[in-house]
């Protein structure tokens, strides 16, 4: 087990390093740099900037140096000093900028995870036990719709409904009066009121997927000999269901928890952008458009790190649950 863990962790570190290079190169690929994007932004509002000014800015930001030099500075700062650098756009340490928004991304991710499991597991079990009933068909139908609807579309529809009927403020996770207020119950309640839309948007397709998996897994178990035997022995149906088939069926579901996390986190930016949430999504997109290298690089790095960590968690959980995995 120790060897397995070491292997996985080493692999993770290596992947992270490779990802950092790819991220850096990909971000540098489009023509121009932050100075260029800044020029565009300024000229769009009507200001006229000179080439000299842009050159000075480049020199100041260090974007005039070759990319591998920039990469070495950037990466060594992160690894050796834990310093993600300064965001060009927000003029603040990248860690601060992300720190301001990452909690919302994580809150959203975990709320979504909770929502997915809380909704999907009971429905999956119910559908399996009452296979081909009206309810099963209804859930299956809704599940397919959920799987097929793109997140951003759902976000737009729910946002429209939220705005039209609930008078919700646009974008953000708080009403204006709570934005600057310190945390309180009222603020928390307001937060929850805003949270449900993105949670549903982010969670729908995952929920649908989970319902289908859970249904199939429980169905597999239900037909097995030990269930028949237990039933014959007179165990109450509910107790039997919860204690044996459901527990068995849960194994693969738990093992893929890490992947679910990954799935939610990678889905979050687009929902964040569409709904202008104060999470890392819009920040990420904006930093890419502006080629705010330190910020964009750190975000890619963090997203990748979360994904890789999620995968490692899955691997480890699987290995714990199923000894055969370690051998492979």
């Amino acid at each position: 087990m120790l060897r397995f863990l070491t292997q996985r962790l080493l692999g993770m570190a290596l992947t992270l390093w490779l990802v950092s290079i790819v991220a850096f190169v990909v971000i540098q690929l489009p023509p121009g740099d932050f100075a260029e994007a800044y020029l565009t932004e300024k000229q769009q509002s009507g200001a006229v900037l000179t080439q000299e000014e842009i050159a000075q800015m480049r020199q100041f930001l260090g974007t005039d140096r070759p990319w591998h030099e920039q990469y070495v500075t950037w990466f060594s700062d992160i690894v050796l000093r834990g310093n993600f650098g300064h965001s060009f756009e927000w003029k603040r340490p990248v860690a601060d900028v992300i720190g301001e928004r990452l909690p919302f991304t994580l809150a959203l991710a975990f709320a979504t995870l909770g929502f997915m499991y809380a909704v999907a597991l009971p429905i999956g079990i119910y559908s399996a036990v009452r296979q081909y009933s009206l309810a099963d068909h209804t859930f299956s139908f809704l599940g397919y719709v959920g799987l097929a609807t793109p997140n951003f579309l759902l976000a737009l529809v729910l946002m429209y409904l939220g705005q039209q009927w609930f008078g919700q403020s646009v974008g953000g996770l708080f009403s204006p009066q709570y934005e600057e207020a310190p945390w309180s119950w009222a603020k928390f309640a307001d937060f929850l009121q805003h949270l449900w839309v993105p949670v549903i948007v982010l969670g729908t397709s995952g929920t649908a997927f989970l319902v289908r998996s859970m249904r199939a897994l429980v169905l597999d178990e239900l037909g097995k000999m030990y269930v028949v035997a237990a039933r014959a022995a007179g165990l109450s149906p509910l107790k039997l269901l919860i204690k044996y088939p459901v527990r068995m069926a849960l194994n693969p579901i738990v093992a893929t928890l890490g992947w679910r996390l990954t799935f939610v986190i990678s889905g979050a930016p687009i929902v964040g952008v569409v709904m202008s949430l104060p999470d890392t999504g819009p920040l990420f997109l904006h930093s890419l458009l502006n080629q705010d290298m330190p910020l964009a690089g750190a975000m890619v790095f963090i997203y990748c790190a979360l994904t890789i960590i999620g995968t490692v968690i899955s691997d480890v959980l699987l290995a714990v649950l199923d000894p055969r995995i370690k051998m492979a």
């Binding site: 023509p31 260029e36 006229v48 080439q51 927000w90 928004r101 646009v170």
Partner: protein
């Protein structure tokens, strides 16, 4: 009446009869209230002048106002009461300059309070409008858009040759932290920042004149003199409009500790703060742009003269500004401005901005509001609680062919003026106007806006939709139609252009319309949307066929930077003729020799810089520039005077309808946001 000494030079006031002036004259003729009867602190406004007459429209100095209105008793915003009581702030009479600027409000002397809510996309992204609510500069453009009026500066005097200008500041004027604002802050800005070789290896163009940087001299605490190597009559226009985004002063007391000249340890301290050297450190906490935030923790401590100052550290979602307790203006009742407690600038994705306006979450918004959104905005005025107006200020899609194209075959075609004229005649501008802009714009040739030397005949130059004439011009050029109706170039290839455009400058709908009109006369353009960065790169390389990045100059732009109206029209992203400009600046050793008309434009530029705006020679040369550009069809115009939907909350008072809405007029700066207040 006293205070005449404050009047600016008449040369800057081409049209001295302002609406306000007329009104005052009328009021006096009708025998308005005589000074003796006036109670102290009665409020005179533009709507009800109460006999007040000032040399400058809508504002005056204490010495002009008090004889009519009686001695003003100064009062301030209750917002400051606690701090005054606690001894953290001096009382208002000690905070105001000895000579505060007296603002004549449009309707009423206002009430204190409220938060003015605005939108930007991010820091320094679409934020000029919120800046314009609070910004100040030495001078300001009055809402007649022609009169330059005092602001931070109390008065100024030009030397006869317009090479020297002496500004007088206000005695006792203070920064937002209470430190005195003096001529030293101006000298510091020029000598230690702008002209410091470490901070700025080259001096910026606006402070260069006759090849030399400006020279600044402190005369006394409140007086300083700028000396230029060549006449620089456009200076005040620059400061009031395009240059209003940069303050020509900096709080010396605040910055000296970061500056190597004043603090020998600045270098070490910078290194301790994790920056390479003091220069980088300085650039991190100082920016030429008023609106550029420095490090947020620092920005909140940075003193300013503006009406509102940062209240809390900026995050990625918003900025919050609070009234500046040391702001230097009072209304005619003696109340210190601004009336409004706070400015809240929310950073919001552009797509959601319209929704936020409809929801009534915004008090004023014009910058970046698309005309396409006009119907939905109009429909929801009641729900959102706002008034919607349509001040002009935008121009649609100028199109320029690359006359100095790298490809000789295309260059030969584009350089023929008949081709450009044909392309102009082939465009159906009325249809574009109706289809894309609800018919709200005006078809026009590509011309500077709000200038006295452009005539209707100029605007109508070759803009009539006339495909027959266009076809004839192209036929005359020898461009015969091929089998599929597309014309054939002299070298036998079909006349196929590549139109790479950025959606930043044009909607694809509009471009497709033009593509259709041109195809109808046998010129085919393949459309390809690319990023702005790429269009610019291609423009610099000289390989683009069609270019669109031209900001139509308004008069203040032409006065302060006439290069926007001659090749290459924009240095950072030339339309065409970058090589001509190079030839001209290198005295013919580099680049490519320009045609005679371009040479003439460059000659005009040199003389233009020395001319007093509005003088006969100025008008004459202005006319000539217009003529040269039109005759050579340098840029093909489509539709101009497009309105920019402007949203103003119904709760706001002291609002006068915007007469222009543009960056180059500094957004709301001429319309005096510091005297707005919440009436309801």
């Amino acid at each position: 009446m006293k205070g005449r000494g404050n009047v600016g030079p008449t040369g800057d006031r081409r049209f001295p009869t302002t609406r306000f002036g007329l009104f005052l004259t009328a009021a006096v003729l009708l025998g308005a209230v005589s000074p003796a009867e006036v109670q102290a602190s009665a409020c005179a406004s533009v709507a009800d002048a109460k006999g007040l007459k000032t040399a400058m429209p809508q504002q005056g100095e204490l010495s002009e106002v008090e004889p009519t209105l009686g001695k003003l008793t100064f009062r301030d915003n209750p917002l400051f009461a606690d701090r005054v009581k606690a001894g953290q702030l001096p009382t208002v009479d000690k905070r105001l300059p000895q000579e505060p600027l007296v603002v004549v409000p449009y309707e009423e002397c206002g009430k204190y309070g409220g938060t003015l809510r605005g939108l930007s996309r991010a820091l320094e992204s679409g934020s000029a409008e919120v800046l314009s609510w609070r910004q100040v500069n030495l001078v300001r453009l009055s809402d007649d858009l022609t009169t330059i009026v005092p602001n931070v500066a109390k008065s100024w005097t030009w030397s006869d040759d317009r090479k020297q200008i002496t500004f007088t500041l206000r005695k006792g004027h203070k920064w937002s932290d209470g430190a005195p604002f003096t001529a030293d802050d101006v000298v510091f800005y020029f000598d230690d920042i702008i002209k410091n070789r470490d901070l700025h290896p080259t001096t910026r163009a606006e402070w260069m004149s006759g090849g030399k940087p400006v020279d600044v001299e402190k005369i006394d605490e409140v007086t300083f003199k700028l000396t230029f190597a060549a006449p620089n009559p456009g200076l005040l226009h620059f400061l009031a409009t395009g240059g209003s985004y940069f303050a020509p002063y900096a709080p010396k007391h605040h910055y000296v500790k970061y500056h190597l000249k004043y603090n020998p340890k600045a270098e070490d301290e910078a290194k301790a703060a994790n920056t390479e050297n003091w220069v980088k450190n300085f650039h991190r906490i100082w920016s030429r742009w008023k609106d550029a935030e420095t490090i947020p923790a620092h920005a909140v401590t940075r003193p300013t003269l503006e009406s509102h100052i940062l209240e809390v550290e900026t995050n990625t979602q918003r900025r919050i500004f609070i009234a500046n307790p040391y702001y230097f203006k009072v209304d005619t009742a003696g109340q210190q401005l601004p009336y409004i407690d706070r400015h809240h600038e929310r950073f919001l994705n552009k797509d959601l901005q319209t929704l936020a306006i409809l929801n009534g979450e915004v008090d004023q918004k014009a910058q970046g509001v698309d005309l396409e959104d006009y119907p939905v905005l109009k429909e929801n005025t009641a729900k959102g609680g706002y008034n919607l107006t349509l001040p002009p200020g935008q121009t649609a899609y100028p199109v320029a062919f690359n006359i100095t194209h790298r490809d000789p075959a295309l260059k030969a075609i584009f350089a023929d003026v008949r081709f450009r004229q044909a392309m102009s005649l082939a465009i159906n501008r009325d249809e574009m106007n109706e289809t894309l802009w609800f018919g709200l714009g005006k078809p026009s040739a590509a011309l500077p806006l709000k200038v006295p030397f452009v005539t209707d005949a100029d605007r109508n130059h070759m803009i009539k939709y006339d495909p027959a004439a266009a076809n004839k011009l192209l036929d005359d050029m020898g461009l015969k139609r091929g089998a599929n109706g597309i014309r054939v170039r002299p070298d036998g290839k079909p006349l196929q252009l590549l139109w790479e455009y950025s959606s930043q400058f044009a909607s694809s709908n509009g471009i497709q319309l033009i593509q259709g009109y041109w195809r109808a006369v046998g010129v085919d353009a393949n459309l390809k949307e690319i990023t702005t960065q790429l269009t610019r790169q291609k423009a610099l390389e000289g390989g683009a066929d069609i270019l669109m990045e031209w900001d139509v100059p308004f008069e203040p732009n032409l006065i302060s930077d006439v290069q926007t109206y001659m090749p290459p029209y924009r240095a950072a992203s030339p339309l065409f003729g970058a090589a001509w400009r190079e030839w001209a600046t290198s005295n013919g050793t580099k680049g490519e020799e320009p045609p005679a008309w371009a040479k003439r434009l460059y000659a005009i530029e040199t003389e233009w810089r020395t001319l007093v705006p509005g003088s006969p020679r100025y008008l004459e040369l202005g006319k000539e520039m217009v003529k040269i550009n039109l005759e050579n069809m340098t840029i093909i115009g489509t539709v101009t005077d497009l309105p920019g939907p402007t949203v103003v909350s119904k709760r706001l008072a002291n609002i006068r309808e915007w007469t222009v809405q543009h960056y180059n007029y500094a957004r709301t700066y001429p319309f005096r946001a510091d005297q707005w207040y919440f009436a309801r």
